[in-house]
Symmetry: C2
Subunit: 111 residues, 2 copies
């Protein structure tokens, strides 16, 4: 039984501001990974709540984790965000004028 994970959408995972901050913290971590007890103090909520948000991010495969001693270190995996990028990029052509040039530039680059 290799996969009993609920397996979650990236869109769903980044909908919560706490989870977006977690992603940011992991992105800026010098070591590239952080354990739960170093992430927790950045929030007003308790450890358990942060842990649950990390679980949701794991379900979306936005973070990976490995156990080191008694702590679990979490690391960012930004790849699923490409789906978000691709989806939102489609609507660039509907934005207000000043980014149309950039949009065209991207289209050339992306094929």
């Amino acid at each position: 039984m290799s996969e009993n994970n609920p397996m979650r959408d990236a869109f769903d995972a980044i909908a919560d501001p706490t989870r977006r901050r977690l992603i940011r913290l992991l992105a800026e971590a010098e070591a590239g990974e952080l354990p739960l007890h170093e992430l927790t103090p950045h929030f007003t909520m308790g450890r358990t709540a942060v842990s649950k948000h990390l679980t949701i991010l794991k379900e979306a495969e936005l973070v990976l984790d490995r156990k080191v001693g008694r702590e679990t270190r979490y690391r960012l995996n930004a790849d699923p965000l490409r789906e978000v990028q691709d989806w939102v990029a489609f609507y660039r052509k509907f934005w207000s004028e000043n980014l149309i040039r950039l949009g065209r530039l991207l289209e050339e680059e992306e094929e």
Copy 2:
């Protein structure tokens, strides 16, 4: 009392796949706008459910509406998606190799 709206996050609004499909349908509408009863048949759920999704999109200002006769026509406003674009763009540098070149190109362009 000009603003009694709950006022919702764009990230929150696009988290639901039904709402993403609504955005797509409105984007592809030839007339640029569609009434509820033309949107509904694209889904398996009932009219009331679709209407509630549209309300949520309205709270995020991703759709605008105007009344025409007995119908309410909904139109896409993609501008709030720029916030999503900006947020996700930050993590392009963490993606797998082949987009690093594009990422650098965008950074030059964006300042």
